[in-house]
Amino acid sequence: MSEIQVTINGKELTSKAGQNILELALANDIEIPNLCYDPRLRPSGSCRLCVVEVQGQAEPVAACTFQIQPGMVVQTQTEEIRAIRKTVLELLFYEHRGSCTTCDENGDCKLQRYAYEYQLSDDVFEPPAGEGRRENYTTGNEALEYDLGKCIRCGRCIQICEEVQADSALTFKSRAASVEVSTAFDMPLNDSTCELCGQCISSCPTGALYERAAKGKGQCKDLVRTRTTCPYCGVGCQIDLNVNPKASEIVRVTSEVGCIPNNGNLCVKGRFGMDFIASDKRLTEPLIKRNGKFEKATWDEAITFIAERLKRTRSQFGADSIAGLSSAKCTNEDNYVFQKFIRACIGTNNVDHCARLCHASTVAGLARAFGSGAMTNSIDELKNAACIFVIGSNTTEAHPVIGLYIKKAVMKNGAELVVADPRAIDLTRFARLYIAQKPGTDVALINAMMNVIINEELHDKAFIKERTEDFEKLETILKDFTPEKAEGITTIPADKIRAAARLYANAKTASIVYSMGITQHTTGTDNVLSLANLAMLTGNVGAESTGVNPLRGQNNVQGACDLGALPNVYPGYQSVEDSQIQANFESAWGGKLSGRKGLTVVEMMHAIEEGKVKALYVMGENPALSDPNLNRTRRALEKVDFLVVQDIFLSETAEYADVVLPSVCFAEKDGTFTNTERRVQRVRKAVAPPGQARSDWKIICEVATKMAYPMSYEGADKIMGEIASVTPIYGGISFDRIDSVGLQWPCLDKGHPGTRFLHEGTFKRGKGKFHAVEFIEADELPDEDYPFVLTTGRQLYQFHTGTMTRKSPAINQVSPTGYVEIHPDDARRLEISSGENVEVITRRGRVTTPARVTSKIEKGWLFMPFHFRESPANMLTNDALDPTAKIPEYKVCAAAVNKTKQPK
C-alpha cells in the first residue's frame, strides 16, 4: 500500500492510501471530536462535528468523509473551526434532553464530554419542548431501551444493524423535527428482524440506547471494567465486565472497538447472558447426599469423604475403575490440573470431556490428513477469502461473531459464499449458492464435487505432487462418483453440485468452514477426511485466507483438548502409548503413569452399565442433558457407585451425585481460554465468588493432596508456567505475554510470535495424506414406523444445556422454550399447526414440544434445538458411535411425530 505524507497541525504524518482525515488523526492521537463515526461503519458524515480546515478548500470539511491526499495541510483546532463545532453542539442540545446527572451513560457519553470541552452555554440544556417520554419500539423489551429524548439522530444504530449485523431491523422514521429511530411499522423489537446483539447500544455515542437491566445500577463514570474472555462459544470475544464496585455486581458488558478477535462486536449471549453469575441458584456450599437427600457439609468433610471413597474404589477395583470428565467450560489451568490428577494421582487415562461430542472427529480426521486437528487459519483471515464454503455450520447462530466476518467477506469484499446445509440457515441470505443435502450424506456431496474438479481439470496438480501422498487412492474411488449419482443420495440437483465444485475450485483463496453438521455423525471422521481431501485437491490449504476451519463449540474446548483432557494424549497431543513420552511425563509429574489409553465419554457410560467403572468425577459438565440417548446416560449416572460433581449450579447431572462441590465461574477466577483459532486469551477475576465456592483447580489440588499426591500452585499463572514446560505448542505462552492480546499456538518459545495459519510450506505431518473415503449411510434411517429424519442443533439465544443463558430475562423473552421444526406440507398432512404441542418419538424416547411450521426445513426432515430441559432433544438422539473418533450421531436419527391428545 502506498504511503502519503500529510501535515496536521504543523506535524508531518504518514498515512496509508484510502484513509480519511479522521482515521489518520485518531491513529496519531490527535483529537477531533466526532459523534457519528464508528470505525466499524461506513462514514456517514451526518453529525458535522468533525469539521476541520484543509488548505485550499473554501469551506471546512468533515474529517470523517474527506480522503487523505498527498501534501495535504490540515488544521483541526482553529478558532473558526471551534466556533462551528460549538454551534453544532448547541443545535444538538435543542433536541437532546441534557439530563446527565441522572443518565447512566454519564462518564462515557461523547456528547457530554464535548459539551464540557466546548463550554456550551447553560440555556441549551433546557428540556426540548413537548418531548415527553413516549412509547417506542423498545417499550417492554427486556434487553434494551431507546430514549428518544437523548437521541441525536446520528444513525449509528441503524448503520451498525445494517452494515455489520446485516439485520436491518432499524430505520429513521418520519422527517424534520419528528425524526426518531424505530423498527419497520414500529413493531416491537423482538418481532422485527432484530437478533438482540446489542450492537446498536455499543455504537450509540450517547445514553439514548442502553441495556435496560443496567439502568440505574451505576453510572459509567463509576463502573470498573475488567477485560476478560466471553464464557460462551469458541469465538472467544474479548469482553469488559463493567462492575459497580459498591455492590460488587456486574452491571453491563461492553467490548472495545479494535480488540482481537471481535473488534468490539458481541452477540446476544455475550452481551445479555451474564445474569447467571449473580443468580441465587448458584451453589455456595459443598453438599453430601445422605439417605437420598443433599446435606450441607464443610469443605474438609467433603474433600476427606471424596478422597476416602476414591482410594477405596481404587484399591478394590483398580485405577481404571475410576473415570473423570473434564470441562470445555473451565480454564486451561483447570483442565491441565484435572487431567494431571486423573493420570498421576488416580493412575488412569480415563479422562475425556465434551469435545468427544462435538469435534472428536475433527481431531482424529485432520490429524490423519494434515497432522494437526485445529482451525488452520485465523478468524480475521475469513474476511479476505475469495470463496467461503460453509458446510454443516449454522455460523450466525452458533458462532455469531465469526458469522459477522463471513457476512463482511460477502458484503464488503465480494466473496463467493457457498452454503451446504439441510436447513435454509440465515447465511443462505448471503450465499451465491445454497445446496440442501439430506442429513448424513456429506461424503457423497464432497466426493461428487471432487469428481467434477478432477474431470474438469480444476485440481492443483503441482500442489498434489509436491505436498501430498496417496492421491491415486482417492482418484480411483472418485471415478464413478458422478454428480448424478450423488443427486440420488443427497437430493441436491447434479448441476448445483457442479456449480459448487467450480465456485470452490476456481477461487484464488478458498476457506472451508464447518462445524457439528460434519462431525456429529457415525461417519464424522470420514466427513472431515473428505473436506481435507477437497482442500488438498485444489491446493487450498497452507496459505492466508485458505484452509480448513472447524469452528469449535465451547469457549475452551480447544484448550481442553490441547491440555490433554482426552483419553489418548497428554497435553500437547502427545500420545499416552508412546513410552518415551510417558517417561517424560512420569519424571515431570513424579508418579507412575498408565500406558493404556482410557475411555471416551460415551464409553464411560457404557462401562458403568457393565460394572467396569465404579466412580465418576465430573468437573463442570452436564452429561445428563448433553449426551445422546439420555435415558441410557441417566441410568448410568444412577447406577455408578460414586459420583462427584463440581459445578456452579445444581445441574441435571449434579442431582445424581453423591457429593456436589461449588465452584467459581469465569468471572470469579484468573486463567486462560483458548479460542477456536488457537488463541490463548486471558480470563480475569472481576467479582468475588458466592459463598464458599472455590476454583476448580484448587479443589482438585486439595483432593489430590488428601490422596497423598501433593499438588499446589500459588496461582493460575504458575500453572501456565508448568503447562509451557511440558506442552511444546504452548512453550512460549505466559500470562505476561498475553496480557493485552492473546497468542496463537503453536508458540514454541518465549521469542515465538505465535502462528496465524498452519501448514505453510509443509504439513505438520510432512506430506498431506489423501484418504479414499466411501459413502456410508447414517446408522439409523427412516422407515415405516419412524418416517422422519431428525437432526438437532443450536439456537442463537441459548447455549448448550441452557444452565447459563436461561438465567437471562432478556434471552428468555425471545427464546422461552424448545420446539421442533417441521415442513408445512408434512404439518398439513399430520394436521399440525404452528405453536401446537406435538410428540416427537424415536426408538430411544419421546418428547413433547411445540411445533414450528417452517419451510426452512425440507420435507421429511425435523429439527430440534437441544438446550431445553423440558423438551430434551437428547432423549431422542442416537448414541451410535463413529468407529474412529467415538463421536455419537447427534445429527441423524429416525423419528415420528404425532399430534398430542391433550388440548394445547
Binding site: I158, T171, K173, A184
Partner: protein
C-alpha cells in the same frame, strides 16, 4: 407481527405492480410505493411486508421511506384531504370554530377519515397564508376568511 384484518388484503395488485418492475431495488422504491398507494388507496403495512419479502428491500427501509414523504399514507386515506390551520394567526381569528364545524359536519375528529372514505381531516400548524386567516385547504384549493357556515357548502363540492 399481526396486522389485524388487514392481513386478508389481496396481494394480487402488488404482484402485478412488482411484475412491471423486474429486479426491483432500493432505487425503484418510490415509484413502487406510489403505485401501491394508487392501487390500495394507501400503503397497507401487510402489503409492504409482502413487498419487502418479494423484493428483498428491507422492511425497515420501506418504512423509513414511507414515513419520510408526506405523499405516503400508512393508514386508509380519504379521496380528499382537508387541512385546517390551527396556527396563531388563524387561531386569533376563530380558527378553532372552523375546526369544530368541520368535525361536526363530517362526524370525525382530527386525523380521522370518514367511513365512506370521502374525506381525511387533518390540522396543520400554519398553511403559510396567514393574511387569509382563518384558512382551510381541500386538496390543493385554498379557502380564506373562513366562517363556520361556509364549511358545509364547500365540502359538498367534493364527492
Amino acid at each position: 407481527m399481526d396486522f389485524g384484518k388487514e392481513g386478508s388484503l389481496s396481494i394480487e395488485p402488488l404482484d402485478k405492480i412488482l411484475a412491471s418492475v423486474p429486479n426491483a431495488g432500493f432505487g425503484d422504491l418510490i415509484p413502487i410505493l406510489q403505485k401501491i398507494q394508487a392501487a390500495y388507496g394507501y400503503l397497507p403495512p401487510s402489503v409492504l411486508m409482502a413487498a419487502s419479502s418479494r423484493t428483498g428491500i428491507t422492511a425497515s427501509r420501506i418504512y423509513g421511506v414511507a414515513t419520510f414523504y408526506e405523499q405516503f399514507h400508512l393508514e386508509p386515506h380519504g379521496r380528499h384531504t382537508i387541512k385546517c390551520c390551527r396556527g396563531t394567526a388563524c387561531h386569533v381569528r376563530g380558527g378553532r370554530n372552523i375546526i369544530r364545524a368541520i368535525s361536526r359536519t363530517l362526524g370525525v375528529e382530527e386525523s380521522e377519515t370518514t367511513e365512506d372514505m370521502r374525506f381525511t381531516f387533518e390540522t396543520v400548524a400554519c398553511l403559510g397564508t396567514c393574511f387569509l386567516a382563518p384558512v382551510m385547504m381541500v386538496n390543493n384549493d385554498y379557502y380564506g376568511h373562513m366562517t363556520s357556515n361556509k364549511v358545509k357548502d364547500i365540502l359538498e363540492r367534493y364527492s
